[in-house]
């Protein structure tokens, strides 16, 4: 297979993050290629969620957080002073660990984002809602109950609703923070298939503690680790998924993969 020249959608360079005086992650550097799925794996507490929350500046919402290094989106550092964080979060969307649809109707959940940017006309909104729900493989199940509360759906459906909600703002990147850990296996499979389809149009980063999922779903994988208690999380190894899982370079990666710890 010929190696395509992949464009990088995001590039993380020497990223470190501090909660006050405590360093949570240190000197992380890797690429997020466009329209591919990049997985972040590692044992609990290694900083993967922290890292992924840096990619859409969600960590800014916590008091006393400080960031060093760069995160580049299409070549621009999102941490430069004066950067439009609100616009950033529309370009880099997020799906959370526990599905969190708003206590509103299914329709209103998906329409929330478009309304934010001023789209009011019913026809347009209807189209966006249908389109997003289709892309999230949920349309057929909910097309007749759009006015029902989003919270009445099953766990797996709620998560797909959250994905539709994100898609509705037309992001370029979608971040998934352990999206299937609160969901049953059958629904998980559905979401994994969905992710494979979404790859066509969106760049994705997925945090997961489930190695098999990472191996199944992703194109590139980054492995993180906290060496000892009190140390910051570091990126140990990054590469294309096949290589990481069959022939890792670092010994610690190999131990994690083969299940000797974590």
């Amino acid at each position: 297979m010929a190696e395509e020249a992949l464009e990088n959608k995001m590039v993380i360079k020497n990223l470190s993050m501090f909660y006050g005086g405590f360093k949570a992650i240190e000197d992380v550097t890797f690429d997020v290629p466009a329209r591919r799925i990049t997985a972040l794996i590692g044992p609990s507490g290694c900083g993967k969620s922290t890292l992924v929350r840096c990619l859409n500046r969600m960590n800014d919402l916590i008091d006393g957080v400080r960031v060093e290094g760069e995160v580049n989106l299409d070549g621009e550092n999102i941490y430069q002073p004066g950067f439009d964080t609100i616009g950033l979060r529309r370009r880099v969307g997020m799906v959370f660990q526990r599905p969190n649809p708003f206590p509103k109707s299914i329709y209103e959940n998906v329409a929330y984002g478009p309304r934010l940017v001023g789209i009011k006309e019913k026809g347009k909104l209807d189209f966006i809602v249908e389109d997003s729900l289709k892309k999230a493989a949920l349309w057929n199940e909910v097309k007749n109950i759009l006015r029902d509360s989003g919270q009445n759906l099953s766990g797996g459906q709620q998560q797909r609703l959250c994905i539709a909600r994100v898609i509705a703002v037309q992001p370029e990147v979608i971040l998934f923070d352990e999206p299937c850990s609160a969901i049953d296996p059958v629904a998980t499979q559905l979401i994994e298939d969905l992710m494979a389809d979404l790859k066509e149009n969106y760049t994705m980063v997925i945090v997961t503690h489930n190695m098999q999922q990472a191996a199944r779903v992703s194109d590139f994988t980054a492995f993180m680790l906290v060496q000892e208690q009190g140390e910051p999380g570091r990126l140990i190894e990054y590469g294309d998924t096949n290589t990481i899982f069959t022939n890792p370079t670092d010994e610690r990666t190999e131990r994690y993969i083969t299940g000797r710890f974590g």
Binding site: M58, G93, M94, R98, P99, N100, L116, S149, Q158
Partner: protein, 287 residues
């Protein structure tokens, strides 16, 4: 065994104490309703105008005054309470200002209502030159009610899960948009439920309103700046300066009516509270 005997005696004492409280309540209800229920339910009383000198007066303008006062007070205090609660729960979660504000609220909550009444007299009636009117009473009661309203509103807002806020901001909403479109709608049922009980307090308040609203009127108030005579203040004034031959009957009837009103409000609040709890438990399921 001495310890066992002491335990038995103590048990009896505690049962007696529990019984005393209920007995007091029952006694009050029976006496007040017994003396005044018939008058209170008499349509001529409920819908009639009061007499300044003769018997047979009714309390309709007083009832209207009470409702009008409640409506005005809520209209003034609820937005302020919501705004303040938003500030304390969303914008300044852990700050020294918060602590100071809470101190001020605690102080307000402990002040005697007559101090509020005199304050209202000095500020709204005299300094602002509004004279005795519903508006002066409403502003005074709004301040009096602020502590409790603010606490319940803040609780309702804090109950909204953080994850909704995160999801909203991740879709590119600003903090204010998140509050307006997600937090407040979610908290609204809780806020409304929490508003019902303070209404009971407004209905029963007398010391703060006799110096700000008025104690006797012949006609139904129509304008917020009209003088009015909420029921609680009226019956106090009646028993203080009898004025008419049947003042006893009027006070009995008025007291019975007040009792009924606050009980209805109480049970409404409980009912609404229960419905809200049920809805929360049912609606938030993730299978």
């Amino acid at each position: 065994m001495k310890a066992k005997r002491a335990d038995r005696i103590a048990t009896v004492v505690f049962w007696a104490l529990g019984g005393i409280t209920v007995a007091i309540l029952a006694f009050i209800i029976l006496e007040v309703l017994g003396r005044g229920l018939i008058t209170a339910l008499n349509p001529r009383f409920l819908f009639g105008k009061p007499n300044a000198m003769a018997s047979g007066g009714g309390i309709f303008p007083m009832i209207v005054s009470t409702f009008y006062l409640v409506a005005l007070t809520i209209m003034i205090s609820l937005p302020i309470a919501i705004g303040a609660a938003i500030y304390m729960a969303e914008y300044a979660r852990k700050s020294k200002v918060n602590s100071f504000i809470r101190f001020c609220l605690d102080s307000l909550a402990t002040l005697p209502s007559i101090v509020f009444g005199l304050f209202g007299l000095a500020l709204f009636v005299t300094a602002f030159r509004w004279s005795y009117c519903l508006m002066a009473g409403a502003c005074t009661l709004a301040i009096l009610n602020l502590p409790i309203l603010l606490r319940s509103t803040e609780e309702a807002i804090k109950l909204v899960p953080d994850t909704y806020r995160e999801a909203s901001m991740c879709l590119g909403a600003s903090r204010w948009t998140t509050i307006r479109q997600v937090v407040i709608p979610s908290a609204l049922p809780g806020i409304i439920t929490a508003t019902i009980l303070p209404i009971g307090r407004i209905v029963g308040e007398s010391a703060a309103i006799i110096y700000t609203v008025g104690v006797f009127i012949r006609n139904v108030p129509t304008n917020p700046f009209d003088t009015a005579a909420p029921l609680a203040g009226y019956i106090w004034a009646r028993q203080a300066e009898h004025g008419v031959p049947d003042w006893r009957a009027i006070v009995n009837g008025g007291a019975a009516l007040l009792l009924i009103m606050v009980f209805i409000i109480y049970f409404l609040a409980r009912y609404a509270g229960r419905k809200y709890q049920e809805k929360k438990l049912l609606g938030a399921g993730t299978r």
